[in-house]
Symmetry: C2
Subunit: 344 residues, 2 copies
C-alpha cells in the first residue's frame, strides 16, 4: 500500500510474482473490488487498506454520514477475516467524533503503526520457539504482503532466519489461489530463506518422513476459546500434525481475536466461485482443466479446533491451551480502554 | 487403447477432457514417452499397454531377442506401479517359449480380458459395502481410463450408482496433474454420478462436517503386509479418515499385490519434475505461477501403512487387516499355476 498525498495505490497480488502492478484506489467501490478478487489479501492488510482509504476520503472532504455509510459496506466485504471488521469499527468510532477528519487520520495511522509493532512482537516471540536448522512448514501467505509489518507466521520465519541463517521452509502451494506457491515462495527468495514448494497434499508424506519439525500458520479469525479460521487446508495440516506429533502453531495479532466469537460455530466461512477450483488465472496465463459441466465446491477457509493447536503466538505472548484464560490471551479494545475485560 | 490390426492407438489423457486425441504407438520408444509423460496412466492400463505392444511387435515379425530386450526397458518406465512389471514378466515368459508369437498374443489377450474381469469382481465386491445415498470421496483417477474394464475404486462407484442411483462423489482434484479434476470428474459425468470437484486440501473440512461416508482409492503397488503406494495425497486422506473415523478402502486387482515386496520400505517412490508443481500444462493452456528460482519437491506417490486401511478390496475378496493372511489375500501367478503359494 502506498499513499503519496493524493493517490492511494495497492500492489496487485494476483499478478505476483511475475508482475508488479500498482492499482489506483480512490473510492470504496474500487477497494471492495480489489479485496473481493484478492488483489489485496491477508487479514491485517485488508483491514488496514479499509481504514487508510476511509481516512483519505475524510481528508479529501467526504461528508461524515457518507463516510459512515461507506465504512459499513467495507465491513461486509470478506466475512471470515475479523480484522477488517475490527479496524473499520475503530474507524467508525473516530468518524463519529466532532473532529472526525483528524480522528480518522490519527486512527488509521495508529492502526498501521500498531500492526508493524504487532508483527515485530509476534516474530520475536515465535522465532524463540524455533531451533537452528529446523524444517518448518507453512501454508498460504502471512508475510509483509499480508500485513503492514514483517508478517505473522512468515515474520517468525524471517526472524528465525535472521537469527540462525539456516532454517528451511516447506511452502504449501495453497490451492486454489496459490498464495503459497506465488507469494510465500517469492518472499522466501527475497529473505534468503532456503525453501521448496510442495503440493498441499504432499505435506503428509513429509511429516511421515520426519522432514517437518514445526508448522506455523496465520489466522483470519480466532475465537475466544482458541478455535480459529484460516485458509482452506489449515485444518488438514493440524490433524496431520497431531497424528505425527509435530508442534502446530497459529500466529496472529491480538486484533485477529474476535471477542464476540466464543467458538468455531460462530465464525462465518466464505464460499467462493467454483471457477477458482476448476482452473487458474495468473499473470502467466489462465486455463480451466475440468469438464465445464462438473460443479466444484470452494470454501475459502476452514476451522481448526483449539485442541489441535500447540500454541497461539500473539503479539502479547505465546499461549498454550492451558493458558487460554490468562489476562493477555485476549481482550478487546474496550477492555484495554478500561472497560471490563472478559476472560474465559 | 485401440488396435485395428496394423496400428496401436492410445488416447492421450493429458488432453482430456477437452480434446480426444489418439496417439499412434508402434514402437517401445514411443510407448515409453507416452507412459513417462502420463498420456496413459493408471497402473493396470500402463501394464496392459506394454503387454499389448509387445504382442503386436511379435506378430509384426520382431525378433525374439529384440523383443526380450524391449520388454526389459518397458519394465523400468515407471518405478512405483508394479502392474507393468508383473505384466511384462508374464510377457517375457511367453516370449521365451518356442512359439513365442502365439504365446505373446495369447498372454496379452489373456491379461487384457483378465483385467476386465478383475475390475468387474472388484466393482461388485466394493459396491456391496456402499449404502444408498452415501457420499464417497475418491482421489486421482481409477476408472475405465486407468484399466481395461470399469476401473477399480471408480468401478465400485459406478456399480453403486447402477444399484442405487443416488450416490454422491467428492472428486479430489489431485494435484499436481489433476487426474481427479480432469478425468474422474469427466467419468462421473458420463456415468451420471452426482459429484463435485474439490481442492485436495478441502477433504479434511468435508470430513469434519460429516459430509464423507467412505473413501475409496486405487493403488499402484500393494506390499504383502498391506502397506500400499498410490498417488500423492492418498496417505493424507488415510490419516484424516482415521482421525474422523471414516472407513478408508483401497481397491485393486490381485495383480497390484507385489509378492516380492514384504512392506512399504521396499516400494520405490517415483520423483517427477518440479515443473509439474510450479504450473499446469493442459489442453486449455499452460502457465507457471511460481518464482522461477524457487525449487519444488514433486513425489508422484506416497505410502499408506496397512494400519490406516479399513479393508482391501481385491478381485478375490474383501480383506480386513485381521484377514491379511487368508489364502486369497495375495498369491502370485506361480501360486495360481500350481506352484507353492506363499502366505503371510
Amino acid at each position: 500500500m502506498l499513499f503519496d498525498g493524493t493517490t492511494f495505490r495497492i500492489l496487485d497480488q494476483t499478478l505476483l510474482p511475475h508482475q508488479q502492478k500498482w492499482l489506483i484506489c480512490n473510492d470504496t467501490e474500487t477497494l471492495i473490488d480489489i479485496i473481493s478478487r484478492l488483489a489485496i489479501r491477508g487479514a491485517p492488510a485488508i483491514g488496514l487498506s479499509a481504514s487508510i482509504l476511509l481516512a483519505i476520503l475524510a481528508e479529501q472532504g467526504e461528508g461524515q454520514q457518507e463516510l459512515l455509510k461507506k465504512a459499513e459496506t467495507l465491513k461486509a466485504v470478506r466475512p471470515t477475516a475479523v480484522n477488517v471488521i475490527n479496524n473499520v469499527d475503530e474507524m467508525i468510532s473516530a468518524l463519529q467524533s466532532r473532529n472526525y477528519i483528524e480522528a480518522a487520520v490519527a486512527t488509521a495511522e495508529k492502526l498501521y503503526e500498531e500492526d508493524v509493532q504487532l508483527c515485530r512482537n509476534i516474530a520475536k516471540l515465535g522465532a524463540a520457539i524455533i531451533r537452528p536448522g529446523e524444517k518448518i512448514l507453512t501454508h498460504c501467505n502471512t508475510g509483509s504482503l499480508a500485513t503492514a509489518g514483517c508478517g505473522t507466521a512468515m515474520g517468525i520465519l524471517a526472524e528465525a532466519q535472521q537469527c540462525y541463517g539456516d532454517i528451511f521452509v516447506w511452502v504449501d502451494e495453497t490451492r486454489p489461489l496459490l498464495q503459497g506457491g506465488r507469494l510465500t515462495a517469492w518472499e522466501c527468495g527475497i529473505l534468503g530463506i532456503s525453501h521448496s514448494i510442495i503440493c498441499d497434499s504432499t505435506a503428509a508424506l513429509l511429516m511421515q518422513q520426519g522432514d517437518v519439525d514445526r508448522i506455523f500458520v496465520g489466522s483470519d479469525r480466532i475465537a475466544v476459546n482458541g478455535d480459529f479460521a484460516n485458509k482452506i487446508g489449515t485444518y488438514s495440516l493440524a490433524v496431520l500434525a497431531k497424528y505425527h506429533s509435530i508442534p502446530f502453531y497459529v500466529a496472529a495479532p491480538l486484533t485477529t481475536v474476535d471477542p464476540n466469537c466464543p467458538a468455531a460455530s460462530e465464525i462465518p466461512l466464505e464460499m467462493r466461485d467454483e471457477c477458482e477450483v476448476k482452473g487458474v488465472n495468473t499473470s502467466t496465463g489462465r486455463c480451466s482443466w475440468c469438464p465445464p459441466e462438473s460443479p466444484a465446491y470452494n470454501p475459502a477457509f476452514d476451522i481448526t479446533p483449539a485442541e489441535l493447536v500447540t500454541a497461539w503466538i500473539l503479539d502479547t505472548g505465546v499461549f498454550t491451551r492451558s493458558e487460554l484464560g490468562k489476562p493477555h490471551w485476549w481482550k478487546n479494545k474496550k477492555g484495554q480502554d478500561g472497560q471490563p475485560v472478559k476472560f474465559l
